[in-house]
């Protein structure tokens, strides 16, 4: 096993665990919902990117695939945030 790669995978795992716990804590924080939703969905994008790059090894495939998967991730998180913001912004 490449020690560097294994360390990279384990670091990614640690970050994923941390972001998951922080997201759960943020959802219980009682802060403004739009800001909290934004933080939670930003964490979703970050976690997804780490999973794609370090678990799925997307960084070692042609960049077109990286663009496709990251666009998918970005689009989903943006639409999800927009859907929660829509009722608030329209009263």
């Amino acid at each position: 096993m490449s020690r560097n790669t294994a360390r990279q995978i384990t670091q990614a795992w640690g970050i994923l665990v941390l972001l998951t716990v922080l997201s759960l804590a943020a959802s219980h924080s009682g802060l403004g919902s739009l800001a909290v939703n934004g933080l939670i969905l930003a964490a979703v994008f970050a976690k997804g990117r780490w999973m794609l790059m370090d678990f799925l090894k997307l960084r070692s495939v042609p960049s077109g695939w990286q663009v496709l998967f990251l666009c998918w991730l970005g689009l989903i998180t943006l639409i999800a945030w927009g859907a929660t913001a829509f009722p608030v912004l329209h009263g």
Binding site: W13, S27, V36, M51, W72, I76, I79
Partner: protein, 168 residues
Amino acid sequence: MMWVLILTEVVTFGLLFVTFAVTRAVHPDLFAAGQAQLDPALGGINTLVLITSGWLAALAVESRAGGRRTTARLQLGGAMALGAVFITIKLAEYIAKGQAGIGIETDTFFTLYFLLTGFHLLHVVLGIAILAAVAFSDSVENLKTGTAFWHMVDLVWVVMYPLIYLVG
């Protein structure tokens, strides 16, 4: 080919996520009431379970590439066991909902909740079967392909969990 299949899967789930998000925008009160009946801690535990399972699966590929077949198989076994833990927790959640009189026809929120999580649960079952197959036929390429499917299943849950349980 592997990337085409994975992209097809995530796009399919993506359409379901968009459906869920748009329906939430149309029925915010209904979705807030439905979400209040879910247990975010259980979903959070399941997220940690799948993330850790994905970590073991990723390490298994590195172990096999380094010629450590037994270690790779043990790591795959750990990944599959955690997959089974995910299924157990999810089924316990479904049973609790059933006992509370909540089902797929309760309202739009729960129709989408059971549709999305149920479709994902089927992928978890299939993913465990694929991991078991590549643990036996354990070339590096097979492990890469099998674990890629598993990571896709993890990724979908990592996106789905906050959408259903946390944001609102």
